[in-house]
Symmetry: C2
Subunit: 102 residues, 2 copies
């Protein structure tokens, strides 16, 4: 979902403040329809919502979904780095440093 650089840029800009499509397109090196398509992806992922204001359509980040996504990502990292217990995060809750090679 955030695998695309343009999408990360849009995400970051929406994180600063809500923006209209034409506004985003003006700050990105891509065309307006391209922005629309990226926004469609982000919207179908639930991380953005749109509000119609006149002729403009204001897009903003959806905090709950964003946090849910981040949690999912943190879970991946937690699992991935579990084997590095000693090297990585000193996690007092989870004492599983028993990974040794004989």
């Amino acid at each position: 979902m955030l695998g695309d650089p343009s999408r990360r840029l849009i995400f970051a800009k929406l994180a600063e403040r809500p923006r209209a499509v034409v506004e985003l397109a003006g700050e990105l090196p891509i065309s307006r329809p391209a922005v629309s398509q990226h926004l469609r992806v982000l919207k179908s992922a639930g991380v953005v919502t749109d509000e119609v204001r006149g002729t403009r359509r204001i897009y903003r980040l959806e905090p709950a979904a964003v946090l849910a996504f981040k949690d999912q990502l943190d879970a991946f990292w937690h699992r991935a780095l579990a084997g590095f217990g000693d090297v990585v995060t000193p996690d007092p809750l989870e004492g599983s440093p028993g990974e040794d090679q004989p």
Copy 2:
């Protein structure tokens, strides 16, 4: 870098324990050269190192680089979620650094 599912799988498996190429290929639905190419990407990113052991080549995660990458990623999220100060709950477990929003 971790935008590809196969690469995430390889990353996760290497997180469990170091493995040889043929070993990884045996657990993945892709061919051995494909694994080699993914490993090349991961290696050029610095997150894995390889050690020659006989005819086999053992790949393992490089903790420092992995942590650096995670830090970079955390920085992105920190910037992204900066505007959501009130909504983002402080996370005592994870390494999210202190955030003070006036």
